[in-house]
């Protein structure tokens, strides 16, 4: 993995970029979205507040804005509303894991943190086994990606003509041939999946 060559200028540029994106620039939030930046800022400027000041931002105002934002996000919620919303989401979404929900429904996750102490506890209080939720979410994401990978492979294989020839494909595109065999188990299975796909699309 390439190492970032940090400079004071690079750090300031990234801070201003996050500022432009309307992000909460509190130390804890930036740690979450770009942990390396906070580490580099501390190394180069002594602390996060000094880095903010170097970027021309008022660090005290950043703290206040962060607090205001947190309060705003969660003010309309109650613990009952959080649990009710989780139960509704459980019907609509196949994934209740923290990573997915934080992305898809950040206000709900923030409210769960405030009113039920954590997302995990909120999910459990709503009547779900959190371990099971995590496992289900992971499997769901893996399954979706696997299906998509297969579709992409067959879409490309389809371009090799009516009856794709294994030797032709492996000579013209060895990496693709390898991926096909890895995904479908064998060349024959890939071709039969392609036939099935064509039939379904007719």
């Amino acid at each position: 993995m390439a190492r970032v060559k940090w400079t004071k200028e690079k750090i300031v540029k990234r801070i201003l970029s996050l500022h432009k994106l309307g992000e909460d620039l509190s130390n804890s939030n930036v740690k979450r979205i770009d942990g390396a930046l906070v580490g580099a800022a501390t190394a180069y400027f002594g602390n996060w507040s000094a880095a903010l000041e170097a970027a021309g931002l008022d660090s005290a105002e950043v703290k206040k804005a962060s607090q205001r934002r947190r309060n705003e996000k969660i003010k309309k919620w109650t613990s009952e509303k959080v649990l009710e919303e989780i139960r509704q989401k459980a019907d609509a979404e196949k994934d209740l894991s923290y990573a997915y929900m934080k992305e898809k429904h950040p206000a709900l996750v923030a409210a769960a943190g405030k009113y039920v102490t954590s997302w995990k506890k909120a999910v459990e209080a709503a009547g779900f086994d959190y371990k099971e939720v995590q496992e289900k979410g992971k499997l769901h994401r893996q399954e979706l990606n696997k299906i998509w990978r297969g579709d992409l492979l067959l879409e490309r294989l389809d371009k090799f003509g009516e009856s794709p020839d294994e030797r032709d494909v492996s000579q013209k595109a060895p990496a693709f041939h390898k991926l096909l065999s890895k995904h479908f188990g064998s060349w024959r299975s890939a071709v039969s999946a392609l036939k099935k796909r064509r039939k379904e699309r007719k």
Partner: protein
Amino acid sequence: MRILVVEDLPDIMELFGALLEMDGAVVHKASSYNEALEIADNNEIDIVLTDYKMPGMHGLYLLDMIKHKNPNMPVILMSAYLDNDVAVKARRLGVDYILEKPFEYEELFKAIRKLLRKKWRE
């Protein structure tokens, strides 16, 4: 064409690499935004294809960094769950194309060709 593909799922990255190379692209692969920024700083790149959600960094960060440095660099954003607010923000930052996962390769490749033709005409 030289493409920087930024994706944290190794299987998807490997597949995009193979498909794009079959279509004549030179593919630079990055599995994190930091890695992507370093590659973009040190290589000639024609177009960037990036996932929105990467671990450890804001999804639109890379887009902003790249557009800040090179406003004419086409950037395609991919995402499995992109809400309207994020899409609006991305457009404001100059994203050239947004693809919602799962998409067909043909759509991606058409977008790449269209954006590169536009870039090279300018």
